[in-house]
Symmetry: C2
């Protein structure tokens, strides 16, 4: 079992990520990304998918054309955990202008 | 310029698709799909992405783990067109239990 971050951990860790926002009404974080086109957006999603599968920790995400909106939370902990931070850091590392 | 389907065309054509629903308040259609796992869901999305790019007609879609929710509409026509039907038919042809 993995534990939720405490409120302090959450605040501290969120400050170390790029452009992630807390989701209203949920213990989750969200980032919106914009790419040159669909090819670039889906290429990015494919890299995240491979990483997610490797971690066995999957995003909730929405895509339309060149936009991707990603929400991270840990279902089994019903909130934000270190797994979300790890996936968020990977996403930040391959996001445009990284 | 591509024209929106008429109300009659829309009703006729929707009946020929599998499990697509009209979206409330929008001239668009939606289908929800469930897969064995994330690998299967994202594999399916990759096939749709390649088709969409070939057609230059892209879906709005949401994924979490083994679930995919797809919305089709034609932005430049501000509604449903034959392009959406073509992409919906492709999706139906590769959906589970096809």
């Amino acid at each position: 079992m993995i534990n939720r971050l405490t409120s302090e951990e959450r605040t501290q860790q969120l400050a170390t990520l790029r452009d992630w926002q807390a989701v209203a009404g949920r213990d989750a974080i969200q980032r919106q990304l914009k790419f040159a086109d669909f090819n670039a957006a889906f290429g990015f999603m494919t890299r995240v998918a491979i990483k997610a599968q490797e971690m066995d920790h999957h995003p909730e995400w929405f895509n339309v054309y060149n936009r991707v909106e990603i929400t991270l939370s840990t279902h089994e902990a019903d909130g934000l955990t270190t797994r979300d931070l790890e996936l968020a850091r990977f996403i930040d590392s391959i996001a445009p202008d990284a």
